[in-house]
């Protein structure tokens, strides 16, 4: 009975969408990189860097949107490093990506500590506020779920539509899909394989950083260590779950958000009998199960993980 009550409450679905928002940014970013043929395991670190850069810009006096721009540029910077290492130099995408994660995470913590050497409680900023859209937010159920989210959630949903449009309706999207399937096809038609792949990694990484920025600028109002907490890795799994499709990526992120929101609420209901760690594990276990079921049929970009070198065929 209680389970049904949770599932029907508007506040549960609002939480699910809120939890899903950084994952939507992250999974879109990973999707953009991987569709071009390059895995970006730097995502976890880029989340941290985005969270740090966005928060710090605002803390230093910039506006919220300027802060977001700073976060995106920081992500693009780390993406560019990954792009140079993996595309023209053709180094291992795994090693480079994990390196970026460690590097970006440490640099973020280091910058934070350097700026604020002796602060016990993290300084707060004024985060994005829920967009209370007059008439729409009064619609029963849908109103509170959809129309009381912050601007960043709307930005995430807009990006899903934008990415879908680019991949399905524009020449650029066709070229980006082709370069992840057979770079030789792109090269033979006179397009630049390096240009497309590096561009995709930079754009994808900027998108990932927005996911990190959501954490400090919308979900919480401060930066603290370990706040990314594996969200980047979840995105890597969700891309496979989504079979590299933007629409399914949104669905996957929402599903995870729902699992997570559900476990928190279930904990208060039956927490007396079951240890709380079981609930914390639940969304991850369910994600793995969903992945096992879906991923067997997933169609990988054929050139994923395969470096391409000019003049070598």
């Amino acid at each position: 009975m209680e389970i049904l009550e949770i599932l029907l409450s508007e506040n549960f679905w609002a939480a699910a969408l809120r939890i899903a928002t950084p994952l939507i940014f992250g999974v879109l970013g990973a999707l953009i990189c991987e569709k071009s043929g390059v895995l970006n395991l730097g995502i976890e670190g880029i989340f941290a860097a985005g969270a740090m850069a966005g928060w710090m810009a605002v803390w230093l006096g910039a506006g919220l949107w300027t802060g977001l721009l700073c976060a995106a540029l920081t992500g693009a910077f780390f993406g560019l490093i990954h792009a140079i290492l993996t595309v023209p130099l053709g180094l291992s995408q795994h090693v480079s990506g994990l390196g970026i994660t460690m590097f970006a995470t440490s640099v973020s913590y280091f910058t934070y500590r350097t700026a604020l050497p002796q602060v016990s409680s993290p300084p707060r900023i004024e985060p994005f506020q829920p967009l209370d859209i007059p008439i729409l937010s009064d619609i029963p159920f849908l109103g509170p779920v959809l129309f009381q989210q912050t601007a960043m959630t709307w930005l995430a949903l807009f990006l899903v539509a934008l990415v879908w449009w680019v991949y399905n309706r524009t020449p650029l999207g066709q070229a980006l899909r082709a370069v992840g399937d057979n770079p030789n096809a792109v090269d033979a038609q006179g397009l630049s394989v390096y240009g497309l792949r590096m561009g995709a990694i930079v754009a994808g990484s900027a998108c990932m950083a927005l996911g990190g920025a959501f954490l400090t600028m919308s979900a919480f109002d401060a930066f603290f260590f370990g706040m990314v907490n594996g969200r980047g890795w979840i995105c890597i799994a969700l891309v496979i779950f989504a079979s590299w499709r933007p629409g399914k990526a949104l669905l996957g992120a929402l599903l995870f958000g729902a699992f997570d929101a559900f476990q928190v609420r279930l904990q208060t209901e039956v927490g007396a009998f079951v240890p709380s760690q079981v609930f914390l594990m639940a969304p991850y276990i369910l994600s793995i199960l969903a992945l096992v079921i879906v991923a067997r049929r997933a169609e990988y970009p054929r050139a994923l993980l395969t470096p391409w070198f000019k003049g070598q065929r």
């Binding site: 070229a175 006179g190 054929r302």
Partner: protein, 505 residues
Amino acid sequence: MINDTVLSLNKLSKRFGTVVANESVTINLKRGEILSLLGENGAGKTTLMNMLFGHYMPDSGSIQVANTQGQLKPLTLGHPQAALDAGIGMVHQHFTLAENLSAIDNILLGSENLFAWRRSMGTAREKIKDIMHRTGLNAPLDTIVGKLSVGERQRVEILKALYRDARILVLDEPTAVLTPQEADTLFANIDIMAKDGLSVIFISHKLREVLAFSHRIAVLRHGKKVGEIATKDADEKIISQLMVGADTPATPREPLTIGAPVLQLTHLCAAGTSARSSLEGINLTVSASEIVGIAGISGNGQSTLAKVISGLTKPTSGELAIDNQPIHKFTPTSLLKSGVGRIPEDRHHDGIIGAMSVAENLAIERLDSSDIQQFGFLRDQELKLNAQNLSQKYDIRGPGIEAQTRLLSGGNIQKLILARVFEASPKLILANQPTRGLDMGAASEVGKRLLQARKRGAGVLLISEDLDELLALSDRIIIMHDGELHAAPSNNRAQIGLLMAGEVS
């Protein structure tokens, strides 16, 4: 009109390290002409065309291409885009198609403004339809390329070049993957296009199609142009002499009396990677002193058949007997022990272990025999002795018996595999595409060895896509299509070709 030159390659040279790929090659091409570029593997045909298309930068030499007014202009070297702009289209041996895009998207790739917000394909579609109508090259435009047949993919490749207004079309071994009928259709289309003013260069090493469909033949050997001849003045003998530099007499086949069956398949079914390549109740007998050739387009069950006989796939029903002994345990070892010698299709991947030495690879199928090992330890001296003997006997050349096997050339890797197989004196030899990718010299060596084995009394199952090779070596030919076997009614190429395409009368 047929006299004006549209392309001129002047003294092109290219080296890769110390290897000379092309040396001072000069070739001219006229409007509406079909030139065939002939040569053995490694003669430098593909390198030459890759320089023309800007994939490689020549070390010296220059290229001139006629513009739309017919004036020769120098081509910027090393840039595919420059070659495309100059009206050169290339169809690579390995197709350069994105399989996750539709045919029309592949054709339009790179021709649209990359940063347009939406696509308008109406005029483009009209233009492609018009080209298809004019040339007879038809392909379903809205189907994902991954779902098209090989012939359709090739037509998409050619359409791609024609859509970009190519006036010079280069085809790299265009018929390697086609049935004889598909190849004939392709050449008929090329002929129409040439009459329309398109100049065509096609690379091939099949003498028959070169003689039948080109206007002029240029022959390359060891990177140099060794001859150029109008097709009407050429015959097979002249060209093959130019290609290899000397006569290679065909190995004579002695008539032999066929012995007892060494391989019997009865109502055998086995699952392949697709429905088309699954075996559906086939019956097949190969006897001692007999070479049975399996013809067919790849992907029709040949690999599945080979896998069953090698013990890599367990049949779902039916029986397999080697030397009259039914096989129950389908593992590579059990079939090897019962007397099957295997020459695998992908010699680099399945035939050798590239990181291990030549000596180790030569002994790898009999590591348990006592002359190679003792108490579970390899006997190093014996291993080397064995390798030295076999290298000499089978003329395996390379950096030495201690060197990694992957450093050997394709022909020498195949010789290594032949040595390993023939020294075990198998009752049945499964030769799957044994000459694919080998030059004439190495290929004739393989044929000679197979005929020797036949004389010794072995049965040979020869799977090949090269009809000429099958006709030269086999006692009888069986055609495989859609997982089923059909005996060839005669050695008539056209009849076999029809059966390969699945036209059973």
